[in-house]
Symmetry: C2
Subunit: 106 residues, 2 copies
């Protein structure tokens, strides 16, 4: 998944060992899995050449990372004939998130 | 590497088979490797759940993807004692980019 971290989110990620982002729409920290229970346990944090992006290697603790029920948010690929789903669904989002606002599907 | 694509960049990437970004600072398309010769050949383009990010699987044609001389821009990791470089340098950036402005180190 791709998400935004500010310094505070990165510090919390490092300290807790679980991936935490900063929501720019809600202006608050959110830890992946706080609603779903599907956490991302940090294995390694890599930093890019201009220090404005991190690549976090993780172990998924839970059924799926994506709020739409897949292991990865990148569950579709582009093909010459259009967009194709190539992963299987691991869970039904309504079982996990109920009728929550999509912004709270963490 | 992490870069920004607009629709035009994505279309060019799909059509040409080589990764092309859109530079927001220069307001123009740029194809990775146009200066260095180190191109990224597309294998697969994956799209995320909310359709605002793509993950492009590539083969690197050339010595390194990073303008600082490494295979990946993510050549550093965070450790308890600080930042550690864990990849070896594949080329000397001055051999490839000369005295170019960093913005032209493509």
């Amino acid at each position: 998944m791709l998400g935004y971290m500010n310094n505070e989110a990165l510090e919390k990620t490092k300290k807790s060992g679980y991936v935490t982002f900063f929501s720019r729409s809600r202006q608050k920290l959110w830890t992946k899995g706080e609603k779903s229970g599907h956490h991302l346990r940090v294995r390694e944090i890599r930093v890019d050449c201009d220090y404005d992006a991190v690549l976090v290697q993780v172990d998924l603790h839970g059924l799926g990372c994506c709020h739409m029920g897949y292991k990865s948010c990148f569950f579709r690929k582009l093909t010459p004939s259009g967009v194709e789903v190539f992963l299987q669904r691991e869970f039904d989002p309504s079982d996990v998130y109920g009728e929550d606002n999509p912004e709270n599907q963490t």
